[in-house]
């Protein structure tokens, strides 16, 4: 059986203006694995994620989702199976938190009771109090709370695969650490396939089963935290690791 939940074969992406955002990518994530995707700003991380849910089509190569080429799948159905947390959260400003979280369940036709139950279960996982915020609008939440709601929304329909674009970007270190813990215990229970974009090495090491390091649209190394730390494949990875050690003091 195909071990890959997500697979990218020979993919390059060139934007119409000529920018090469990704070049010749060979890559895969196993079922139930958390893959951290790390790289500096503009290295192509967001483009990478958006290839997976067909918001972007590759210029060359194939994206395979759960064993089937993405291009052969109906994009609407495909996207409903992939949870997605966009980089800016992307909450609907005119919908309440409850409505936002229940977006995909609603699209899938769940009953109202099922939806409410789901909200009451998910928000506490994200350290949010449903009775306090469920009926508020996004603008009435703090930036960090909004990010957590966006994560809850990506998990709402129990999608087997979740793509997260810097979900903990705007949080203070304590809350961030807290949520990373939540994320780990959640992951231990749910065993979802996750792709988590971050630009923070320690977050990548903490949360990722494996780590993909991206630079200027090219993969530098894919490996477990151990492999990255002890056998950096390129000078760039070496530099990152050094930097990481220096900051940990």
């Amino acid at each position: 059986m195909n071990p890959w939940a997500l697979e990218i074969q020979h993919v390059s992406k060139q934007f119409p203006d000529g920018t090469y955002a990704l070049q010749n990518i060979e890559w895969g994530v196993k079922e139930g694995e958390t893959m951290a995707l790390i790289g500096e700003s503009g290295s192509g991380k967001t483009t990478f994620l958006r290839l997976l849910n067909r918001l972007i089509e590759p210029t060359t190569g194939t994206v395979v989702i759960q064993g089937e080429p993405a291009s052969a799948q109906d994009p609407i159905q495909l996207r409903r199976r992939l949870g997605y947390v966009p980089q800016d959260g992307g909450l609907f400003p005119h919908w309440t938190i409850r409505q936002n979280v229940c977006l995909v369940p609603h699209l899938l036709g769940w009953t109202l009771e099922q939806q409410l139950e789901r909200v009451d279960m998910l928000l506490p996982l994200m350290n949010l109090n449903p009775s306090q915020i469920a009926e508020r609008y996004p603008i009435e939440l703090s930036g960090g709370q909004r990010q957590r709601v966006a994560v809850a929304r990506a998990l709402a329909a129990d999608q087997p695969i979740v793509l997260l674009d810097e979900p903990f970007g705007a949080l203070d270190p304590l809350t961030r650490h807290d949520l990373q813990d939540q994320f780990l215990s959640l992951q231990a229970r749910l065993q979802k396939t996750m792709v988590l974009v971050t630009h923070d090495m320690s977050e990548a090491f903490r949360l990722g089963d494996r780590i993909t390091i991206l630079k200027e649209g090219c993969i530098q190394q894919v490996g477990t935290p151990h492999q990255i730390l002890h056998a950096p494949a390129t000078p760039y990875v070496h530099l990152l690791v050094q930097h990481y050690h220096a900051h940990r003091g």
Binding site: R50, N53, L55, I76, Q77, L78, R79, R80, Y84, P86, D88, G90, L91, F92, P93, H94, W95, T96, Q99, L103, V104, H106, L107, L112, Y137, P138, I139, E140, R153
Partner: protein, 531 residues
Amino acid sequence: MNTDRIRQRTRRISRGIVVGLLGLLYALSLPVWASDTIVVGSKNFMESRLLAEMFAQLIEARTELTVTRRLGLAGTQVCFEALKTGGIDLYPEYTGTGLVTILGEPPMHDRVSVLNRVRTEFLHRWNIWWLAPLGFENSYALALRRDRAQSLGLRTISDLVRVAPHMKAGFGYEFIQREDGLAGLKKSYGLQFQEVIGMQQTLKYQATDKGEVDLLDVYTTDGRLAVYDFVVLKDDRQFFPPYEAAALVRGEILKRHPELGRVISLLTNAIDPTRMRELNLRIQEQGEPVPQVAHSALRALNLVADNHVQPAASTESRDSILSYMWTTRSNLALRTGEHLGLSGLGLFLGILVAIPLGLALERWRRGAEAIIRIIGMLQTIPSIALLAFMIPIFGVGALPAIMALWMYSLFPILRNTYSGLRDAAPNVVETGRALGMTEWQILRTIRLPLAAPTIMAGIRTSAIWTVGTATLAAFIGAGGLGVPIVAGLQLADVNLILSGALPATVLALSVDGLLSRVEQWARPRGLEPVR
């Protein structure tokens, strides 16, 4: 869910709109359809109104027919188009105008040959009849104050050639345009003026008082010639063609109602120039209402019974504006109702077309800008011109006015719908797509609600514009608050003008206020924090 609420709301709105539309259509369309109704029209100056009113009262008094009045149509073109297309059945016209303006032929100078010529041609081309002339001519003439004329020694237009280069002429717009007006006059006499100022007919006499202009074009039956002590310069080269007044009637209606021709013919040669000037004077200077003067003229001819018309207690237009408006309140209420009906229907149709079009263009963006620009060009057609273009297609009355208002209302709504939908929070749209919403779901639950305030702002702009423009509907006989304004302009009667202008302003302000409320309400919650 949110979507249910929106759906419910939309349903409520559309039901309300449909009910309103049906009501308005019903109210606007009734009188014109009854088959034994005669529609009498007139141009937008007092003599034309008076003659039309006399026709109308005569028909009412001496036949079983019902009369609808569409008085004050804007100029010869509008009136005649309306007659050709059946928007009106008859109106008073002048033979010279028929020859030169309508037939586009060179002026002739003999009364009888002009009449024969227009009779033959009108009958042949359009089956329209010139009934027997009423007994007076209302020609163009040039006139100036007696003291000026005497000190300059002017008696004929030829005398004028010498002094004209030092004179300012105040001429009506139609006169300036017409071949048998200024242009021909210049050619025929070789006249050159220091300056020609285009002026509204009724304001001209006052302007000579202040010495702003020296010379006017006048109608020979104008009552004010006597009041302001003007002398008419003799047309020594017989340039101005004869303008005999007569009723112009559609052949079909004469065939269907022969009694109509008989009744109007009672006025043949019944009004001599002195009498006409005197009647005009009563309206122009003494502020007597047109129906009352018409009635007393008919009574003097023994054509109607004494008790026939209730000479409406002379609306004292010399009162203060408020008490004047109070005495005419029922009429004003009617006009306000018409006004709201016209602008409301125009706006409603605008919404009905512009919003779906905006939705379609958002889907088909390649052609969007071009189409929006074309619709935008409609906006730049001057309102009066647009109204005039409508007449050959829709006749006169409410329909062409509504169509014109409709065309005006399209652009702001279309523009705002399109750009509101296109620019609605792009990141949110993208997220919706990423989470598996179809484009239709995105449109319905993201783009539309987020664009609603922008769309409402467009509707509001259109509404104010429409309410403002609807005053011009009076020019094509569609009623509305423009009626007192137009009539007031002709009479230089400030109270009359204000009695239309004030309610129109109040109306525009209240519509604006109301719609700003609706705009607030259409704004989805969550776009700003609760304070």
